[in-house]
């Protein structure tokens, strides 16, 4: 029996492509965010409200991943910004190769921001780097407040937590204080914004966060931001 050392990451091919994408985003001053959540937490609604608030000349593009259908892309295309659906055909996450493939004929020069809506799943997308600057996790109050404890990996790897659907709080047994406590226990540095895509509560804070995050990524391009 011979033991042969074998170094390297299991997803090294994914990580290699993700690193290339990250370098390309950085070189073109594109802020790329990877939005993750369980199915139905409101990623698409958050993006709709986000796009609605952008001026028509905002240089933003979107990729949206689902197992089947292009329903989300059609919802998002209404706002006039470039949108592409990635239909994974059963795969429970997006990977870097899918992003690379779908972006192949896009001009990075035309973009300031790329928002990727991952497949609704709090487990698998946490393993796949897409070259994003940050992950944003969306948790709705229609779910359990212990989601951060049940899926710590995703909350640990996300920079921002959007607590969505807060307009439903009077009708559901969701403990907001506990949700915050659990998220901070798993990830003490996570930022938290409470949002309702229905009433618009918290959306200014989210848009402000986007603006600040872009300034953080590209300090020399502060005045180019037109949020």
């Amino acid at each position: 029996m011979n033991q042969i050392p074998m170094a390297g990451k299991i997803l090294k091919e994914n990580d290699r492509i993700a690193a290339q994408l990250r370098a390309a985003f950085q070189a073109h001053n594109i802020l790329c965010l990877n939005l993750v959540s369980s199915p139905g937490a409101g990623k698409t609604s958050l993006l709709e409200r986000t796009l609605e608030s952008f001026p028509a000349n905002e240089r933003v593009a979107l990729l949206t991943g689902d197992l089947q259908t292009d329903n989300d892309a059609r919802r998002l295309a209404r706002f006039g910004f470039p949108v592409r659906q990635i239909t994974t055909g059963g795969t429970c996450h997006l990977d870097a190769r899918m992003i690379e493939r779908v972006l192949a004929d896009w001009k990075f020069e035309d973009l300031d921001m790329l928002l990727i809506e991952n497949v609704g799943n709090l487990v698998c997308p946490s393993s796949y780097d897409l070259g994003e600057a940050a992950k944003v996790v969306v948790l709705s109050v229609a779910e359990g407040e212990d989601k951060p404890l049940k899926y710590p990996s995703m909350f640990f790897k996300s920079e921002l937590l959007i607590l969505n659907k807060i307009d439903l709080l009077p009708h559901v047994p969701f403990d907001l204080a506990k949700a915050r406590e659990y998220a901070l226990r798993v990830h003490p540095d996570i930022e938290i914004i409470e949002v309702s895509c229905t009433t618009g509560a918290g959306l200014p804070q989210w848009l402000h966060w986007l603006k600040q995050r872009r300034e953080l990524q590209f300090p020399s391009f502060v005045h180019a931001v037109r949020l």
Partner: protein, 115 residues
């Protein structure tokens, strides 16, 4: 449930590595999986077994070393295992600690025998 695609990535890479060594057969693939990697070790083993069944690698075993989340204190240098999500330093109490392991999804080594 993405363990099947992870198991497939493991097999592809190990097979490529093994093919470079003529007259040898792969008997074991050893990997390290961190607690934060988002991988269920049982599901990974199950997927691996299903993928190698009735192939040339049917006898090849998958060994998984599961690594807990470990942090290092920025102030006193203490290294510790994070239990019950407590990331503060158990020695000096500071919250300034950084992840040093627990996110692994990597190969450790291969074991081969002569055919």
């Amino acid at each position: 449930m993405h363990e099947v695609s992870i198991a497939n990535s493991i097999l592809e890479a190990a097979r490529t590595e093994a093919q470079a060594r003529a007259g040898m057969r792969l008997t074991k693939i050893s990997v390290r999986i961190g607690e934060l990697a988002g991988i269920d070790p049982d599901a990974l083993s199950f997927s691996f077994e299903a993928l190698v069944k009735e192939t040339d690698l049917e006898k090849c075993a998958l060994e998984i070393e599961f690594l807990p989340q470990r942090h290092e204190c920025a102030d006193c240098g203490q290294r510790f295992v994070v239990a019950d999500f407590e990331t503060r330093c158990p020695k000096c109490g500071t919250a300034e600690t950084t992840l040093i392991s627990g996110n692994e999804l990597e190969f450790a080594h291969l074991e081969m025998e002569e055919t």
